[in-house]
Amino acid sequence: MAGTAVSGRLAWRVARLAEARVETPTARTLVFDIPGWPGHLAGQHVDVRLTAADGYTAQRSYSLAAPADGDRVELTVQRVPDGEVSEHLTGRYAVGDPVEIRGPVGGWFVWRPADPAPVLLVAGGSGIVPLMAMIRARRAAGSKALFRLVYSLRTPAERYYAEELRRPVAGLDVTYVYTRELPEGQPGIPRRIGVATLNTAGWPADFGATSYVCGPTGFVETVADILLALGHDPHTIRTERFGPSRD
């Protein structure tokens, strides 16, 4: 397993697509074979580099979606409109095709299976990806750490890992927050995550939980502010953001 620090130069490795799954109409899970992969921690990310026939390259960072499993590495990529890398990876990119990947990177937004503290995972949209890696790492390690996941998304159709999250897991509570459209037959109205959600579905501040919050900038700002207001120590709140700021 990779430690906190990365030793030596991070090498670009050739990765080949071994398997692809449609996650939602706009997201695709990609499973790569990367010979010699050094392993990683749940929450870490990789850089992916595409090279065109004329030598042009583009690279982006993606969170790992699953814990280390030999030479297998799994990412879930959301198609960003006009995203030159994500459009290829969610579109024409086919089984057997190569890309280059290097990593793992990041030693802060990680969960270690030896850590017994309760965990709160708060995902906004595709921010579920590194948090799912933590849920899967917990299961793979047989950890008894208590996990709670609060997953905010616009509509039920946008759920990643829907089947897997539907299966009950001892010690993992899952709460969905729908902002635009509720599942059929579910009473209530769509709403955004708020104080009441995190007060009910999160951990009391004095339980010593670690919170991992990942999503668009505005979402992460809101959730982190609520956790602070509920009395959580800022040092127990780890964030990963994507997208632009509000101004």
Partner: protein
């Protein structure tokens, strides 16, 4: 040349000579940080510079604003591959803050409200290369972008431009800061793609 991915052509190549290798132009201004955004009231804000021998200078918010400042337009480059060109700021040059302090330190640890740290060579903060910035686009710097004040060192990757900066510790020894301890490069030159340790 790297391994060609069949069918990948890329966007129309911008070929902008101001973009370092591996960077793309961001239209917006992404926010990245490791934890909650600290909300620092300017009434409580203080900025200190401490030398290796313990000599110290400190400024309140009002004292900072009274120092000579300058407006500057620079390009910024984040290790997560986005760059923004011609961003407009206002701030105080770091050399103005170091002023008459006597030091033989070669390094600086920048410290932030919220606990963030990052290390830099002192020489990279002098000669008009770095500022303590408090305005962006003509407006006060917002908390999510590091307000009330952040360090700005545009010639290095943006994690070196510590948000919510509260002081500079001058040192004779180069110790890694927050992201440097987590595997990122000690120096972080975008033109040499010094993203991670060993690059």
């Amino acid at each position: 040349m790297g391994v060609v991915t069949p069918g990948f052509t890329g966007r129309a190549h911008s070929g902008d000579p101001r973009l370092p290798p591996g960077q793309y132009l961001a239209r917006d201004f992404p926010v990245l940080s490791a934890g909650p955004t600290p909300r620092v009231r300017t009434d409580d804000w203080e900025f200190t510079v401490v030398t290796e021998s313990g000599e110290k200078r400190a400024w309140s918010w009002r004292e900072l604003l009274a120092l000579p400042s300058e407006k500057f337009t620079v390009d910024i480059h984040c290790v997560t591959q986005w760059s923004k060109l011609d961003t407009r700021w206002r701030g105080v040059r770091v050399e103005t803050l170091i002023g008459d302090l006597t030091t033989s330190a070669d390094y600086v640890m920048a410290r932030s409200y919220g606990g963030y740290t990052t290390n830099l060579p002192l020489a990279d903060l002098l000669d008009g290369q770095a500022w303590v910035a408090y305005e962006y686009n003509g407006k006060p710097l917002t908390p999510e972008h590091g307000g009330p004040a952040r360090l700005l060192v545009p010639h290095l990757y943006f994690w070196k431009s510590a948000k919510w900066v509260r002081g500079l510790q001058l040192t004779t020894k180069d110790d890694p800061g927050f992201w440097e301890t987590a595997g990122y490069h000690d120096y972080g030159d975008p033109w040499r793609e010094q993203r991670y340790q060993g690059d």
